[in-house]
């Protein structure tokens, strides 16, 4: 019997998915549980598994297209089976998708009608049920781990014991002898779950290394004052300057402007800067697209707009995905220096510290100058030490000589 492959709800809030890449081609034999394609959801790139055995007979949606959840994207069937009726279904035509057939019973796991227990209760919006071994469920229950943020390594994405051995524990720690009023259990919000999963996906598998440079900010400081003295809106912040400089520098150092893709590295021609914005209960990284082509003023305007809407939680998925490199700034909170966690599949992120007056040795005397520390986290699979260092050197030169931005 033919199996309809539909765009599945791969995250609890997913409404549509972008088919990043087909991992199986038409004519390939597939077994249930094989990964057919990579799908970018609102939160991450996920795997779309086969729900039946046979041959991938027809791919209906080319890589790169975005389709709503439930739409037929491919058909798995026996080699000789007639699938023409399936292909005539509504919703299979290109660009269609307003009137969708309901997700078929055979191909999509039904939402759980029974919740396993209060401790691992799924959010009501969860469309795909969590696949986990009974043991994994028990461990999760006992240790307060939210299985929706754990990625399963078993067949069909089943969460098994070994996945929990490296999973982050949730806030509901095992009940030790604590007075009953001595703590408060706060259920995870969607954003907190996503942050937890994304960061665990990063620091675990991504081999990070860190490079720190101290930059003299006297001239950037003067340049910013001079610009803002013109009285034009918007006022330029140091963050705007840093985003601009990083984008410019990445254009010269394309080897740092890349995605790790498992079996290849994707180097981007344009620079899309994700900037970490603190919001209530978490953070999100809206993306300034083509930042290398944008003026300081454009960057400043977009940053205001994106940050404001991020805090209102009104960003669309397209506005916080697809970055090629990220900037995280805690300088305004007085942090001197820190290391940031890479946002995969990006290969790097710079962590920006505060600008503070520091004593500096200058031709045999000590002078006080405004200095800033910038720490780059690199995915060593993509960026080597010297590669990252050269990029940082360019950033430093530009910030120490702001006219270079106009070069």
């Amino acid at each position: 019997m033919a199996t309809r492959v539909v765009m599945e709800a791969l995250s609890p809030t997913m409404e549509e998915g972008r088919l990043v890449k087909w991992l199986k081609q038409e004519g390939d034999a597939v077994d249930a549980g094989d990964v057919l394609a990579e799908v970018e959801t609102d939160k991450a790139v996920m795997e779309l598994p086969a729900r039946g055995d046979g041959v991938l007979r027809k791919v209906l949606v080319p890589a790169g297209s975005t389709v709503p959840v439930g739409q037929l994207v491919a058909v798995i069937a026996a080699a000789a089976e007639d699938i023409s009726a399936l292909l005539r279904e509504p919703g299979t035509g290109k660009g269609e998708g307003a009137a969708l057939p309901p997700p078929p019973k055979t191909a999509v796991p039904a939402p759980r009608s029974q919740q396993p227990s209060a401790a691992v209760a799924l959010p009501p919006a969860a469309a795909g049920r969590v696949r986990a071994s009974p043991l994994a469920r028990r461990i999760a229950r006992e240790h307060g781990v939210d299985l929706t943020v754990v990625r399963g390594s078993g067949p069909g994405g089943r969460i098994i014991k070994r996945d929990l051995e490296r999973a982050p524990a949730g806030p509901a720690a095992p009940a030790v002898a604590v007075p009953s009023a001595g703590y408060e259990d706060v259920p995870l919000t969607q954003i907190r779950k996503t942050i937890a999963r994304r960061l665990a996906e990063s620091l675990g598998p991504v081999p990070h290394f860190f490079l720190t440079v101290e930059i003299d900010m006297e001239r950037a400081w003067d340049a910013r004052e001079a610009l803002n003295a013109l009285g034009e809106e918007p006022q330029i912040t140091f963050n705007d300057i840093i985003v601009k400089v990083v984008a410019q520098a990445l254009q010269q150092h394309r080897e740092c402007n890349a995605w790790w893709q498992g079996d290849f590295i994707r180097y981007f021609r344009d620079v899309h800067i994700g900037m970490a914005v603190a919001v209530d209960q978490g953070l999100i990284t809206p993306v300034i697209r083509h930042a290398n082509h944008k003026s300081l003023r454009q960057i400043a305007l977009e940053t205001r707009d994106l940050s404001q809407r991020a805090r209102q939680r009104r960003l669309t998925p397209g506005e916080y995905t697809g970055g090629t490199f990220s900037v995280s700034n805690l300088g305004m909170l007085g942090i001197q220096q820190f290391t940031a966690v890479i946002n995969p599949p990006e290969a790097g992120i710079v962590a920006v510290g505060a600008i503070t007056p520091q004593p500096v040795a200058d031709h045999g005397t000590v002078t006080i100058r405004r200095r800033m520390r910038l720490t780059m986290s690199c995915d060593h699979r993509v960026i080597d030490g010297a590669t990252g260092a050269k990029f940082l050197q360019t950033v430093q030169r530009m910030l120490e000589n702001p006219l270079a931005m106009a070069w």
Binding site: S133, P134, L135, G154, P155, I160, K161
Partner: protein, 327 residues
């Protein structure tokens, strides 16, 4: 400890029990003058005489019925089947008489009888003579079913079976008779319904009995050597009553389980064990339980096909890899 064969261990058990209790007698085809088709009863006719070691005609239903009748009036018969394939002719007496009489007499008539002989496949004996019947008999309330794998277990379990007041189906193995193992000198018995951990391990439980214990242990050795996987091998020894506690304790430790048996898969012994595990240790399972069985076909006569039909270490290893998510 003396190293003796499985056949001699059984012989010792028979001899000791016949010496101990004058109501024990042995009956079957060729058990006396010929000293048993597989020489299990060697020397017994000489030692106990023809009233206690009785040669019968080739008439399984008849002599099995005589055995059940003898048990009804207080003797302790041991009925030898030349193989369990021939015992199909007598299955009415085993199931309809032996297994039922205690119940149907309101507890007045116990049937302390042992039915014994080789079960399962040997080598190229064809479809009708290569069958493992554990699950047939284990299906029936009123019967106990024992299937020892080693000389030590064979002796201790046969002695207990003879002393048991219920009918016991005791399945030996033609290919096991010549295997040797350590058997303590002197009196010992092994309780029915007690499995034995033949090898301790932490990563996966392999459950087996009778002839499949050897391939399970071999697989465990290879798993340790090649994959650094530590397998625990649990020999059920008694199929009914089943030692669920030992099985569960092992699965709770390893979280994964492979069940091996010589018989066919459908409604096999392993199917029942799977049920017990999923029922009582559901939350301890990290993977679906796998079963390794004889192929679901009549046994082929062709040597190569026969080998492919029987469960071997390679099948066990493949199943362990599946439950350990290593394939």
């Amino acid at each position: 400890m003396p190293l003796i064969t499985y056949r001699d261990a059984l012989n010792q058990a028979l001899r000791e029990e016949m010496e101990r209790d004058p109501s024990v007698f042995l009956m079957g085809e060729e058990v006396g003058v010929y000293q048993g088709a597989y020489k299990v009863s060697r020397g017994l006719l000489e030692a106990f005489g023809e009233r206690r070691v009785v040669d019968t005609p080739i008439a399984e239903l008849g002599f099995t019925g005589i055995g059940v009748g003898a048990a009804m009036v207080g003797l302790r018969p041991v009925i030898e089947f030349m193989t369990w394939n021939f015992a199909l002719l007598a299955i009415d007496e085993v199931i309809n008489s032996a297994a039922k009489l205690l119940y149907m007499s309101g507890g007045q008539i116990p049937i302390p009888i042992v039915f014994r002989g080789p079960g399962g496949a040997a080598l190229q004996l064809g479809a009708q003579h290569s069958q493992a019947f554990e699950s047939f008999y284990a299906h029936v309330p009123g019967l106990k079913v024992v299937a020892p794998a080693t000389p030590h277990d064979a002796k201790g379990l046969l002695k207990t079976s003879i002393r048991d007041d219920n009918p016991v189906v005791f399945l030996e193995g033609e290919m096991l008779y010549n295997t040797k193992g350590e058997v303590p000198e002197g009196e010992y018995t092994i309780p029915l319904g007690q499995a034995d951990v033949k090898r301790e391990g932490d990563d996966v439980t392999i459950i087996c009995h009778s002839k499949t214990v050897a391939p399970a242990l071999k697989a465990a050795d290879q798993l340790a050597e090649q994959l650094q996987l530590s397998a625990e091998v649990v020999d059920l020894r008694t199929i009914r009553p089943l030692d669920v506690a030992t099985v569960l304790a092992s699965v709770r430790k390893t979280n994964r389980c492979v069940i091996v048996e010589e018989g066919w898969p459908f409604c096999g012994v392993g199917a029942q064990v799977v049920h017990e595990i999923q029922h009582a240790a559901f939350d301890d399972l990290d993977a679906p339980i796998e079963r390794v069985t004889g192929a679901d076909v009549p046994m082929p006569y062709n040597k190569h096909l026969e080998r492919a039909t029987k469960p071997g270490p390679e099948h066990v290893i493949a199943a362990v890899k599946r439950v350990a998510y290593l394939d």
